[in-house]
Symmetry: C2
Subunit: 471 residues, 2 copies
């Protein structure tokens, strides 16, 4: 390893290589906050440096883990003792904005929020948005195919990537920096690197598609008396707000009541006795007219009995206060510690039955358990927060089985937007067929035959146990 | 071959196998109308039959070509004498529409128009649309990542596919029929089969994402005095119509004048002396308000001097009459025979210079040549129709070089939406790097090591000439 590190240092300069105790001052994981255990952290400043580093690593058979903003939730950026971390923290440039075609070229280490601001400063809008925007990076967003709050309108990260550049395990640079909205010239190889969590290549740069900003915003919180009413509202919103509907976030009573009345972290804008709460947002280009449409829809929903109470935001502060309830992950963690957090998708119509059954089974298997539910209902995506008394391995496994078990029969997914990483690897086969997983292995084998890139992540390896991996 | 065909007939029944003279009654190619030359045409009725057929073909090393509606423009469905055609014409079922999640599951042989109608009959909308809608199939749309007229609003086919099922060269069925809007569980293997033109697998079924239908429609034809005005209008439309902007189609004067004044195929709604014409369409959910927004934008564009004359459609018939000028491919073929048709993308700002240079160079290389230009300007996509006096191989090559040559430096593409097929294979390297093409070969090798699926298409094979391929 020493000879390899000497070679790498010659490529990236001493400032590009972190060794010894300084490595442990970094985290291994956002969730645990445990110190990084890698041998060293390599910080290239450009694609050529990274390619040279990977050529050395490939020759030496040295496994690497790529790290972005380290805000992932499935241990996808976690490194073992014998691994090198590739950090893109010195590759953060926002390179070119094309104002006519509406494209933005950036280095992969650029934080999402910086990219959003760069677009906004020139009259454009980059629509991907999530809570970790200040820390998470574009490269991480690409590698995990990030979702977030505006998917119902704008899609996930995959839809925003026109082109990208990636370094393969052997140091080959795949420069696929397409800026065209339409390009059917050959296989769309960039798709390989989107959502594959750094296991097929290291994303170094990307061309992002920008949108024109909207100028109107309407936000409301609705108290909803039942699930059928909830789906009626969802259908009504799709029909009546059309493409302006940008968010449709559900909170089960468990979530709303906990964060308002119970913990007192938020003044409840509506009483906490409804079974469901819906946070609805529409963005358009004509405030007066859009507000009329929005209010008229809510009024009709109210008259139809689908909404029992509602509050509309009349200022940015009110809007933020409504979102704060939905987004108060800190409050959830604090109240439910030790917390298991899940991110699943399933058909919307199956949601109430799924949640109800889960609640019953949790109570049977781990009496006193607590289940709190919110999610992006328009996307079929629920986030489940569970306290089952303990977070030991047995409890975790028991809870995981209850959460993931029913998804296969429902045609759902064990990961809607967080990815697989290490966290869900053993459950991948629940929602992917053996043939699909075999094909994933074929791709991994074709692109990274030595298994150097983010090894053990995403794909189940039958021969290796978790213990071996964490050395 | 006879033994193989006997085995295949046992799988698909006599009705599923076409042999002998009946094969030649089918076309080999939409463009030439030449008779099909394949050994036989295999028509499975379901995925299991097709898988069994491919297991036989794989064992025998038998190459196959998959055919959908045969409306492709790059010879992607053309079969050689020693190949079998796999036709999905008996796999046309529209299977399930989920009204809550908005998904539609169909067999790959279903024609696009049938799928559009199936969605509409249950209050939904499938937004992909192109001229060949009556004949082209969903499987073909997927395999070519079809574009069409509404890409600026709805994206290409890739965006509409939630899940798919495909049969690999060895008969393995990859069932990836995801119905979730969000599913980050492992590699998104379906992407491999979208836009790879049947070279990596045979798409057999798909889950499509539906949209809510719009209820308003505004269409206008604008005469535009210059290219700068054209881009100002495009930017203005994006800003003022937001997500409602569904089409922004440009016609150079060459196109508009030919099809109206010159050929007299269409009564010119505007005089034919403007350099550019823009067909603009917006779809929304509030006819009165949307029309106000639309008219107000056009009025302001007129006052800014960006529009010299305009006509708005006030009925479905008027709307169709405007679209008919833009979509009159038959007129183009008739007037420009022998015709070379091209489909390229390039940065919008580079378009006028590119077209002007091309016109000059054509005149120099093939005096008397004629160039007619239209396209989807919002997508950066131009369609070029060229008559250069002859369609012999030398002329073709000379024209191709002029059309494709400048695209590399501009960051454009030799294929925006038609694909590569055989037609553009020799030019792929103009807009893809050697590393990208090597990666495409790696994928082909990994998924179809015997090279049985739609061989010679898409990827350049240095060792084989066109003559060898057409045996």
């Amino acid at each position: 390893m020493d000879a390899l590190l000497t070679d790498i240092q010659a490529i990236v300069d001493p400032s590009g290589l972190i060794r010894g105790e300084a490595v442990g001052q970094r985290i291994n994981d956002w969730l645990s906050g445990a110190p990084c255990r890698a041998t060293a952290i390599v910080r290239p400043t450009d694609t050529q440096q990274l390619a040279a580093v990977m050529r050395c690593c490939h020759a030496a058979g040295q496994p690497v883990v790529t790290q972005g903003g380290m805000t992932g939730l499935v241990h996808g950026g976690q490194a073992g003792r014998d691994e090198l971390v590739i950090s893109l923290e010195r590759m953060t440039a926002v390179e070119t904005l094309d104002p006519l075609d509406g494209t933005l070229t950036v280095q992969a280490g650029a934080p999402l929020e910086i990219v959003q601001q760069a677009a906004a400063s020139q009259g454009w809008h980059f629509p991907l948005d999530l809570g970790a925007r200040g820390s998470c990076t574009i490269g991480g967003n690409i590698s995990t195919n990030a979702g977030g709050n505006r998917v119902i309108r704008h899609g996930m990260m995959r839809q925003h990537v026109l082109g990208l550049e990636a370094v393969l395990a052997d140091g080959t640079v795949i420069s696929s920096l397409n800026r065209m909205l339409k390009n059917n010239a050959g296989y769309d190889v960039k798709q390989l690197f989107i959502g594959s969590e750094g296991t097929l290549g290291i994303v170094t740069r990307a061309v992002l598609r920008l949108q024109r900003p909207t100028t109107s915003e309407n936000t409301a919180l609705l108290a909803v008396p039942g699930f059928e009413a909830l789906t009626s509202i969802l259908n009504g919103l799709r029909q009546r707000l059309g493409a302006n509907l940008t968010a449709c976030e559900v909170m089960w009573q468990s979530h709303y009541r906990l964060l308002t009345e119970e913990l007192g972290r938020h003044t409840p804008p509506l009483s906490a006795d409804s079974p469901y709460y819906l946070l609805v947002e529409a963005q358009g280009i004509d405030q007066q007219h859009d507000e009329q449409l929005f209010s008229a829809a809510l009024k009709d929903f109210f008259e139809a009995g689908w909404v029992s109470d509602a509050v509309m935001a009349h200022s940015g502060a009110q809007r933020q206060a409504l979102w704060a309830i939905r987004e108060d992950i800190e409050g959830l963690i604090q109240a439910l510690r030790p917390l298991f957090a899940f991110d699943v998708s399933l058909p919307i119509g199956s949601m109430p039955g799924y949640v109800e059954t889960l609640e019953c089974e949790l109570a049977a298997v781990r009496p006193g358990s607590r289940l709190v539910v919110f999610g992006h209902i328009g996307d079929g995506n629920l986030h489940l927060s569970i306290n089952a008394g303990s977070d030991d391995a047995d409890t975790r496994q028991a809870v995981e089985r209850l959460v993931y078990g029913p998804l296969a029969a429902l045609g759902g997914s064990v990961s809607a937007e967080h990815g697989i990483g290490l966290e869900k690897r053993d459950y991948l086969a629940l929602c992917r067929s053996p043939e699909e997983i075999a094909l994933m292995h074929t791709l991994k084998q074709a692109l990274d035959p030595k298994g150097l890139l983010n090894r053990h992540k995403v794909l189940p390896f039958i021969a290796c146990s978790r213990q071996e991996e964490s050395t």
